[in-house]
Amino acid sequence: MQQSITPQHEHEHHESMKVFGFWIFLMTDCILFACLFATFAVLRTHTDSPFTGNELFEIPGFTAETFILLTSSFTSGLATLAMNKGKVKPLIGWLAVTVLLGAAFIGLEINEFMKMVSEGATISTNAFLSSFYTLVSTHGLHVSVGIVWMIAIMIQLKKHGIQSVTKRKVQVMSLYWHFLDVVWIFLFTVVYLMGVM
């Protein structure tokens, strides 16, 4: 009953404020990655032992990771399109595809790390590898958090349907996901491509 007194725009103003706040959070995350990139740039030649990027990185592996993550960004875009059309089922479906692609990406990354470790290239081997592992796994950790988050949103979509709150959540989530994609493009270029050059 009291709900009816409230102007609808106040609520929407609140949701849009949250999206704005999230944009600012993404900026802080951007600076976080910038610092890790700077550290990597300083230390990438500090190998102090036989292990260098050229020997360790395998082109098929990181290329596959790149394609999978880029595709997941595309599918999360399709999810947003479905949401804007008001269709819950395709929305949840495309989110599910995004989650699976994200999980595949994480699987490949873990596989890559395990292979490197088995070759003796661990985080404590040299400064290059220390900065490599911190930078890449910070991104991987972000993706993993994103996967859990996306599953939580899917459950909420099932329960509450598409309404102002869930809409904002999907919007914010996809911002986050695209951001991680952009960070990966830099990782792909600076860490891997320049590493195998």
Binding site: Q2, Q3, I5, T6, E10, H13, M17, K18, F20, G21, I24, F25, M27, T28, D29, I31, L32, C35, L36, A38, T39, V42, L43, H46, T47, D48, I123, S124, T125, N126, A127, F128, S130, S131, Y133, T134, V148, W149, A152, I153, I155, Q156, H160, V165, K169
Partner: protein
């Protein structure tokens, strides 16, 4: 067990006893008066920015006490040559915790207390943009500070200086848990600070009263905006720096180590990329406070409003480009040092503009010598000298002489105490009646003011001389032959004067709770901005009706035109619900930090899992708001009017 608790020092045993007695006393009082439920419902779960501000101020004053005791202990040790009061290890721990606590656990929460008290009221809003996040910020700070502070009785304090430079802070040189406490204590509270920065930025940009254009906004709000922008750009750097140090210590990585190709100077660069802007983060709000106080107590509009705004924004941008001046001696080369010397000196220009504006505001004003005004007047000459010695330090070649000497110590204490602490105290005295509904006693306040001020100069002026005589920072003892004894003794006397000043302030607060002059008007200072248009202390929703604010000094203009802020009819008010999750999530962070500090991996992971569960639990909550019905609003408003 022997490694777990710190043993062997009678001072620490004394502290142990004091902690146990205090905890038992608190538990007893809460149980005896049946206040547990009250504590949970009214304070721990609150999302009200005014209450959160009060909790920040309590913690900040406690931390000022702890940091102050550290300072007194150091001054006792240095008062005379060859003193055997503290051992070198204990001295190292004390100067480390003194610095860290004063900046991160005293100045930062003091600042956030004032943000919380004032910003929503000053811009005509009912709360901050994200009240739940605001509570989370507070509790993260609280448990971060707790984690840092327990280190001196459990596990051992950090002892590698307040910025923990490697390789000293690396596993090779600090194998104990002290540095881990440092990393996690700051990391946890730092996440809270970052969230507060985002929160207040959005609040100021999106929640101003109708008509309040940015260039009509009160200068304190502008200063908070500048400070928040700086927080947003720099706190992620701190997060990364500490995380990398932890990766080094926990996983044996080689990012900042001396071996394995690591680069310790990378850490020093990163930490100062945060650390230098950090001092502007804390001083900018102080500048905002001075602007409000000067204008109110000179009964004049602030002189040069636009130049005030621009100078603050210029300071906040320039602050990113000065970090290397903390280590000119790194040897980055003449070109790099010249660049950073010039940017450092350039910051003096906008600051100078502000000082002239404050002076011109006072010129031909009707000055009232209230407590906030006293601190503001004391700030001007103090900061002037602090700034001038800063320019001396900025001359890169000369800095090779001053570097890490007591000259530097005197300089930064002069800017941080004379600039930040004086400003925050001015703000505390100024807004205290708004939040608590009574003024702080004037006579005691004047005693405290003069003790602090005289004590300050007695303490720090000799330190400039000591710097020139060759005394370097962080020495724990010195011989008679150095000739430093008389200066050090005088300096210690000054530290005690400031300490007495602080005690008087504690007494002043207790005294004023009983006998302070009550504020029944809501406008005890004849103020100019919107926070003075509502009753003190304000109702939970702040403004029964959101005011229009189309003029600078909106409340002053309303008073001039005879507009009354009261309304005849009210609407239901939309408010956020209380939540226990911020507290529980921060407890989980504390557990995680504690576990990782001691390398108890399972406890650390359990804590992190708890954090994740709290995040998800919140995500699934949909009914997080409620409405105060119009009837209730009009009842509360009528009650206030009867009171007045």
């Amino acid at each position: 067990m022997k490694d777990f608790f710190v043993t062997g020092d009678p001072l620490i045993y004394g502290a142990d006893a004091a902690i146990v007695v205090t905890v038992v006393a608190i538990v007893f009082v809460l149980t005896y008066f049946k206040k547990w439920r009250w504590l949970w419902r009214e304070w721990i779960t609150t999302v009200d920015h005014k209450k959160i501000g009060i909790m920040y101020i309590i913690c900040s004053l406690l931390m000022l006490f702890r940091g102050g005791v550290d300072a007194i202990l150091m001054r006792l040790q240095l008062a005379m040559p060859d003193t055997k009061f503290l051992e070198s290890q204990h001295y190292n721990e004390i100067f480390t915790t003194h610095g860290t606590i004063m900046i991160l656990f005293m100045a930062m929460p003091f600042m956030f207390a004032l943000f919380n008290w004032v910003i929503p009221l000053q811009i005509g809003a009912r709360d901050v943009a994200f009240p739940y996040l605001n509570a989370l910020s507070f509790w993260l700070f609280f448990f971060g500070a707790l984690l840092f502070n327990i280190s001196f009785v459990i596990g051992g304090s950090p002892d590698a200086g307040w910025l923990a430079y490697p390789p000293l802070s690396e596993l090779s040189h600090s194998p104990g848990v002290g540095e881990n406490f440092y990393i996690w204590g700051i990391q946890i509270s730092g996440i809270g600070s970052l969230a507060s920065g985002i929160n207040f930025l959005v609040t100021i940009l999106k929640m101003r009263a109708p008509g309040m254009k940015l260039m009509k906004m009160p200068l304190f709000s502008w200063s908070v905006l500048a400070s928040c922008i700086t927080i947003i750009f720099t706190f992620p750097v701190l997060t990364v720096t500490l995380a990398l140090l932890f990766v080094d210590r926990f996983f044996g990585a080689h990012i900042f180590t001396m071996d394995g190709g690591g680069n310790p100077m990378m850490y020093v660069n990163l930490i100062w990329m945060w650390g230098h802007p950090e001092v502007y983060i804390v001083v900018l709000p102080a500048f905002g406070i001075y602007s409000e106080v000067v204008s109110t107590f000179s009964k004049k509009k602030i002189f040069g409003y636009t130049s005030m705004v621009f100078s603050m924004m210029i300071i906040s941008v320039l602050s990113y480009f000065t970090w290397v001046h903390h280590f000119f001696t790194m040897g980055a080369g003449a070109d790099v040092n010249a660049f950073f010397a010039i940017t450092t000196m350039a910051i003096g220009i906008p600051t100078g503009v502000k000082v002239f504006n404050w002076l011109f505001t006072m010129f031909r004003g009707r000055i009232r010598m209230t407590q906030p005004m006293l601190w503001t007047l004391a700030f001007v000459p103090c900061f002037l000298v602090g700034g001038a010695t800063g320019v001396m330090l900025a001359v890169a070649p000369a800095d090779y002489q001053y570097h890490n000497s007591y000259f530097l110590i005197a300089h930064f204490h002069q800017t941080l105490i004379g600039g930040v602490v004086f400003g925050y105290l001015a703000g505390l005295y100024y807004w205290w009646p708004k939040i608590f509904g009574f003024k702080l006693n004037d006579r005691l306040g004047k005693w405290a003011f003069w003790l602090w001020n005289i004590g300050f100069y007695v303490c720090f002026m000799p330190q400039y001389a000591l710097g020139f005589m060759g005394m370097t920072r962080r020495v724990y003892t010195y011989g008679w032959d150095m000739g430093w004894a008389p200066y050090n003794l005088v300096s210690t006397v000054g530290a005690f004067l400031m300490g007495i000043g602080f005690v008087v302030q504690g007494w002043q607060i207790i005294y004023s709770i009983k006998r302070g002059e009550r504020d029944l008007t809501g406008d005890p200072w004849n103020g100019r901005t919107l926070e003075w248009s509502i009753p003190s202390p304000p109702p939970v929703y702040n403004f029964a009706k959101i005011p229009e604010a189309s003029e600078q000094d909106a409340w002053w203009e309303m008073k001039k035109k005879g507009i009354k802020p009261t309304a005849t009819s009210y609407e239901a008010i939309h408010m956020p619900k209380n939540s226990g999750i911020p507290f529980l999530m921060s407890v989980c962070w504390f557990i995680a930090g504690f576990g990782l500090t001691f390398h108890w991996i399972w406890i650390g992971l359990a804590g992190l899992a708890g954090v994740g569960i709290c995040l998800l639990a919140r995500s699934f909550q949909y009914k997080t708001e409620y409405y105060i019905p119009a009837k209730e609003v009009s009842r509360i408003e009528a009650m206030y009017r009867r009171g007045a």
